[in-house]
């Protein structure tokens, strides 16, 4: 076991980033023109990085698997983005955002990175407004905020339920400006299938043109992975259908350590599944917990009547409802962090109180908020304060203006009106805190190879707070990487163009071609989805919201078997040299089948419960997570050694110098 060096600069926490920026080497503008950077991904992280690096003068080559950079999965983010602006004057500050993020992450993240994130958060909002991002505003024309889980201030900026879309279109527009200037070479519908390492440094990638099937070599002086998270290892998740771990996994196999793979976020408020054919799960933004109250019936007879359809939720009297979050966590109530809210929902459903046919749903109810807003509006507009219909109508209007698109999404999927009946929700896989290990510079264990956004592991510990992923993606891409990568590239000003005509590129290319050929020639008997669904079931049952030793051991052997079966019996129709969506999926599932095993192994070795990682053996009598700071106050980083089960463990010890490590309580 080796100890990893995070490269955190010396000095006071508050001054580290400033001092670091003052002391690094810079590349002069003329030299930047001779330096190429590859960015894989056009989400908030990759999009913002590509644009900024191009503005600085580097030649950027950017890749995404969709038909346009604007469609990266970040587009789907709903609720908002955090920033310590303290516009509401409610006591927010850089330190408080830092503190909330470390605490929310259950003391499993790196102090210096998180502080830097909090520090640059305010710049993000300024930058986005300057780009023309239409954030929500109040009647005075100033920016509005809302609250998210796990915090006691209002620091979340938003654009209705489409915050991710607006931020991504901002980054996309910044990219477009550089594409027009020729500073970004955009490769849409391309999938990175390997990283090329020359003399120990990342110097390029192998990508497949998804339309022609051609395998291409691309070189650069540095490679940035911004390919998002691996939640789709569960098959069903709130991620986009194409979200995948391939880029991250391929670099892992080439030497980049993979950190904390078992830290997954199961989001408490998603639309429950409806049948076997289900292809994905849809999130109902956490912002809804600002106004929605979560409950299940207190009495079993009501639950049964609900399932039989003889009783409606609205007919259950107030005193027969169990607002279990408010009951268990009076200080934070419905706004407890996600891991806590998800486990509480599972606890109630496991106890038999689930409100739909599958027994896997709880209510998210807006009636109190509708009444509260309605009364306010009636007063403001001088209408009759006893007119209940009017109150309801006006209240619904307010709720619509805040969450309209989410309510519409719900109605289209479930075919029920959420303004009249409470929503039904259940936890679903949403985000992966684990990812490629990076140091303070966001560089992986391979020199010249960087990882940003959800693809890295760095800022959220074992649980991410709502509205912090967008913040991290844009912080990494706009404000952090452009500095740190310059320090590295300053050594490359005399290198000159990197040739793709080398043995290293050739070898990588051949390996990729062999793998693809093997897949299409296999002519087995099961489709790719057959395997993906099986893997998903293993992951959900044994590596899901709660885990135990027996289950994890089973998961490891079952995934191994499934992987062997996949390579024997998978059927991939179509050819190599054409658009072949099954082939794309096959490659991704092959990687998930390896990652899943490492995931289970990581969960098995972490004998504690922290954040999204809940081990049944390590819980208090009341069912709260029991962390073990003496033994597990570290990051687990895994080095690839052939089989996932043989991965070698490395440790990065976490030091908390500016925060007192406490039991995380939201009571």
């Amino acid at each position: 076991m080796a100890t990893l060096n995070s490269g955190v600069p010396q000095g006071d926490l508050k001054d580290k980033w400033t001092q670091y920026k003052d002391s690094i080497d810079l590349v002069n503008p003329a030299n930047k023109r001779n330096i190429d950077v590859i960015v894989v991904g056009t989400g908030l992280a990759g999009g913002s990085a590509s644009a900024t690096l191009a503005e600085l003068g580097y030649n950027v080559k950017t890749f995404c698997y969709q038909d346009s950079p604007r469609r990266a999965h970040s587009i789907a983010a709903q609720g908002g983005i955090n920033a310590a602006k303290n516009y509401q004057g409610d006591g927010d500050s850089t330190y408080r955002l830092f503190y909330d993020t470390i605490k929310g992450g259950d003391y499993r993240s790196r102090e210096a990175n998180v502080y830097r994130l909090a520090e640059v958060s305010t710049n993000i909002i300024d930058q986005c407004v300057a780009q023309g991002v239409p954030f929500a505003r109040d009647y005075g024309g100033l920016l509005d905020n809302r609250s998210f889980g796990g915090v006691l201030v209002s620091r979340t900026f938003y654009a209705k339920g489409q915050t991710g879309q607006q931020l991504l279109l901002g980054a996309y527009s910044a990219m477009n400006r550089q594409i027009a200037r020729g500073k970004i070479q955009m490769h849409n519908r391309h999938e990175m299938l390997d990283v090329v390492i020359v003399d120990g440094k990342a110097r390029g990638i192998i990508a497949r043109n998804l339309i022609t099937g051609e395998i291409e070599r691309h070189s650069a002086h540095a490679v940035v992975i911004a390919s998002g998270g691996y939640g789709n290892v569960y098959f069903l998740s709130t991620n986009a259908m194409g979200s995948n771990a391939t880029a991250a996994w391929k670099v892992h196999k080439k030497g980049a350590f993979f950190a904390n793979p078992c830290y997954t976020q199961i989001h408490p408020t998603c639309i429950p599944r409806s049948g076997e054919y289900q292809s994905k799960l849809t999130l109902m933004s956490e912002s809804l917990r600002n106004d929605g109250r979560i409950w299940v019936p207190k009495r079993m007879e009501d639950v049964e009547a609900l399932r039989e359809g003889t009783l409606k939720a609205t007919e259950i009297a107030e005193e027969n409802r169990d607002y279990y979050l408010e009951r268990r966590y009076p200080a934070f109530g419905n706004l407890v962090p996600r891991d806590v809210a998800s486990r509480a929902a599972k606890e109630r459903c496991d106890a038999g109180y689930g409100v739909n046919k599958t027994g896997e749903a709880v209510y998210l109810d807006f009636s109190s908020a509708i009444t509260r807003y309605g009364k306010e509006q009636v007063l403001l507009q001088g209408e009759d304060p006893n007119d209940h219909n009017l109150i309801k109508k006006m209240g619904q209007e307010v709720v619509k203006s805040k969450y309209g698109n989410l309510f519409q999404m719900y109605e289209k999927i479930v075919d029920e009106n959420p303004y009249e009946n409470p929503m039904m929700i259940y936890p679903a896989v949403h985000y992966t805190m684990g990812g490629i290990w990076v140091d303070y510079n966001l560089m992986t264990t391979v020199p010249g190879l960087y990882a940003i956004g959800e693809a890295n592991f760095s800022d959220h510990g074992s649980n991410r707070l709502g509205a912090s992923a967008l913040m991290q993606g844009l912080a990494d891409g706009y404000f952090v990487l452009p500095y740190t990568i310059g320090d590295y590239l300053s050594n490359d000003i005399r290198t000159g163009p990197i040739s793709t005509d080398t043995p290293e590129f050739k070898e990588s290319e051949e390996k990729v071609k062999d793998l693809l050929k093997k897949l299409v020639e296999n002519k087995g008997k099961h489709s790719v989805d057959y395997y993906h669904k099986k893997l998903g079931n293993i992951m959900w049952d044994k590596c899901g919201m709660s885990r135990n030793e027996t289950g994890l051991n089973e998961a490891i052997s079952e995934i191994k078997e499934l992987r062997a079966d996949f390579w024997k019996n998978v059927m991939v129709p179509g050819g190599l040299n054409e658009l072949n969506k099954e082939l794309e999926k096959a490659g991704r599932v092959a990687d998930f089948l390896e990652l899943g095993e490492l995931f289970a192994k990581d969960a098995l070795t972490r004998n504690e419960s922290c954040g999204g990682h809940f081990r049944e053996e390590y819980a208090t009598k009341e069912g709260e997570a029991k962390r073990d700071d003496k033994k597990f106050n570290f990051v687990s980083a895994w080095e690839y050694k052939g089989e996932p089960s043989e991965a070698k463990f490395h440790k990065e010890k976490l030091e908390f110098e500016n925060i007192e490590v406490k039991v995380r309580s939201y009571k």
């Binding site: 644009a51 900024t52 503005e55 038909d67 346009s68 604007r70 469609r71 999965h73 587009i75 789907a76 602006k85 640059v120 710049n123 909002i125 300024d126 930058q127 407004v129 300057a130 780009q131 023309g132 239409p134 929500a136 505003r137 024309g141 100033l142 920016l143 654009a159 209705k160 489409q162 607006q166 527009s173 477009n176 400006r177 594409i179 027009a180 849409n188 339309i211 259908m241 409806s274 049948g275 054919y277 289900q278 292809s279 994905k280 849809t282 999404m409 289209k412 999927i413 075919d415 706009y478 404000f479 452009p482 489709s527 989805d529 129709p573 179509g574 054409e578 658009l579 969506k581 099954e582």
Partner: protein
Amino acid sequence: MNLTLKIWRQKSNTDKGSLETYPISDVSEDMSFLEMLDVLNEELIEKEIEPVAFDHDCREGICGMCSLYINGEAHGPDRRVTTCQLHMRKFNDGDTIFIEPFRANSFPVVKDLVVDRSSFDRIQQAGGYVSVNTSGNTQDANSIPIPKDDADTAFDAATCIGCGACVASCKNSSAMLFVSAKVSQFSLLPQGQVEAKERVINMVNKMDEEGFGNCTNTGACEVECPKGISLDNISRMNREFITANVKK
């Protein structure tokens, strides 16, 4: 329910393509349209027939990747939804459903139901941005208050997902709704005004160059637009375009 699907199959851009018939049974009302196609594809794979290629990603109506012309309507019969949000409860047992790609000269077919919409990206590259570098010292976000109405209208325009349904629905294959959405967003915000004139001219010119047709105010685009982008944006862009040309 049991359905008959008539689906456009086209091997590649150079292939001619034709409608093929596929029966499908036991379709649940709660399935999304794309889940129904997933089920069909699984059946085809089992029979060793190449599955139908179609674009999709988020499956929640926001990425703009899905398309499909279903029974003569972009994104199918439901209103204000994308194909991925369309559910089978909108159809009846025994229905025949025609599924074709979005058709327009500027959206060439890539394969089956997949089309190339990169012309949209090129229009955005011609001016769909505010020229501001990332410096970390742009002015404070609250230094210019923006009237809520303007911010909200700009937001409404900015919710365009770039799906291309407006083009596919228009008999002239005009991209006016799409282009005007971006032009409007920026023209309503102070940050966008500095470059407003060049922006509208460059984007409109690019749109013409890409071969999109003229707008003859039929309004089909607004009806089929899954995001409810309003025709007001087109009027706003026309005004901007005229003033920009006058002042040039």
